[in-house]
């Protein structure tokens, strides 16, 4: 058995043990996203997941994948690192939760603002999130380029759990950013 096959089997076993339902590593174009979402809808229907959970899960995944696309467009990571390093998306079901996890590179200069946004939504309860959502909706012009605020609030609202995140430094300018949302079943 070649080294590659052996490693692939290990990756499969690793994912299997962690109840991964769906994972994707590669360029997340709108077309790829649409295809993943279609599969997801079918899987959830087949698994008889209730409508509210289905819709919340769907909504969180759309926002997470949209975020990845935005970062992907803004940052030519192949140029920065000298090699391809595409983003990752993973959906798993562990105990009584669905876990949505995405990872992608971002410029270090964006980290502080992102941490502030996540910490702020993590500090709010449902009512606070709804108020914040409404304020953001009223304030932001749709044509403004930076529209990350509403997406994070939406994820937090639909998740109903605190968001977890991490940044792993890759170069002096770029880090790998991972964010995880959970939905209780």
């Amino acid at each position: 058995m070649s080294k590659e096959i052996s490693e692939a089997l290990e990756i499969h076993q690793f994912m299997n043990e962690r109840n991964v339902i769906m994972s994707f590593m590669g360029e997340l174009t709108h077309q790829v996203t649409t295809s993943l979402l279609k599969n997801l809808k079918e899987d959830m229907n087949a698994a008889n997941v209730d409508v509210v959970t289905q819709k919340r899960l769907y909504g969180i995944i759309v926002e997470c994948l949209d975020n990845i696309s935005k970062h992907w467009i803004a940052l030519d990571i192949e140029k920065v690192l000298g090699r391809a390093s595409p983003p990752i998306f993973m959906l798993s079901r562990v105990n009584n939760y669905y876990i949505i996890l995405t990872g992608n590179h971002i410029p270090n200069e964006q980290i502080d603002l992102l941490v502030k946004k996540i910490e702020l939504v993590n500090s709010l309860d449902k009512k606070g999130l709804q108020d914040f959502y409404r304020q953001t909706l009223a304030k932001e012009s749709p044509l403004e380029r930076d529209n990350a605020g509403l997406g994070i609030i939406d994820i937090a609202l639909k998740s109903g759990n605190k968001l977890e995140y991490d940044f792993r430094p890759v170069t002096k300018d770029v880090s790998f950013y991972v964010i995880q949302a959970r939905i209780s079943l």
């Binding site: 409508v51 509210v52 909504g59 709804q130 909706l137 749709p142 509403l150 609030i153």
Partner: protein, 134 residues
Amino acid sequence: MNALLIEPSDFSPKVVFDPVKNLFEVSGESRPENTSKFYVPILEWLQQYQNVLYWEKDKFGQSAAKTFEFKFDYFNSTSAKFIMDVLMQLDKMAQDGFNINAKWYYDKRDEDMKESGEEFSKLLKKLPMEFIET
């Protein structure tokens, strides 16, 4: 004025704004690849329609009531801002004295969709918004 008709796709809603039939409806899923490209023509159409309504009111007096119906299965946060803009435009028309109202449809199992509509309506000054469970 010509109707605005946009066919639905897996990621963008169906739009029927037809003044002749007095039918105004947006339905389906909204997460277009380019949200601005999708919604700006809708906002421009509404702006033109508003001008027509002003002209008609001037000439013939108040026109018949117009109901804008929103029947979303899902919309992403980027779409939310544009939907807000559509509602704001309708709200402006209502504030200017036109007989305009909105209906927000939601699946009875989907409380989040109802709450989203309620959040929108809290930001409107005059436009009456009715919530309809399906």
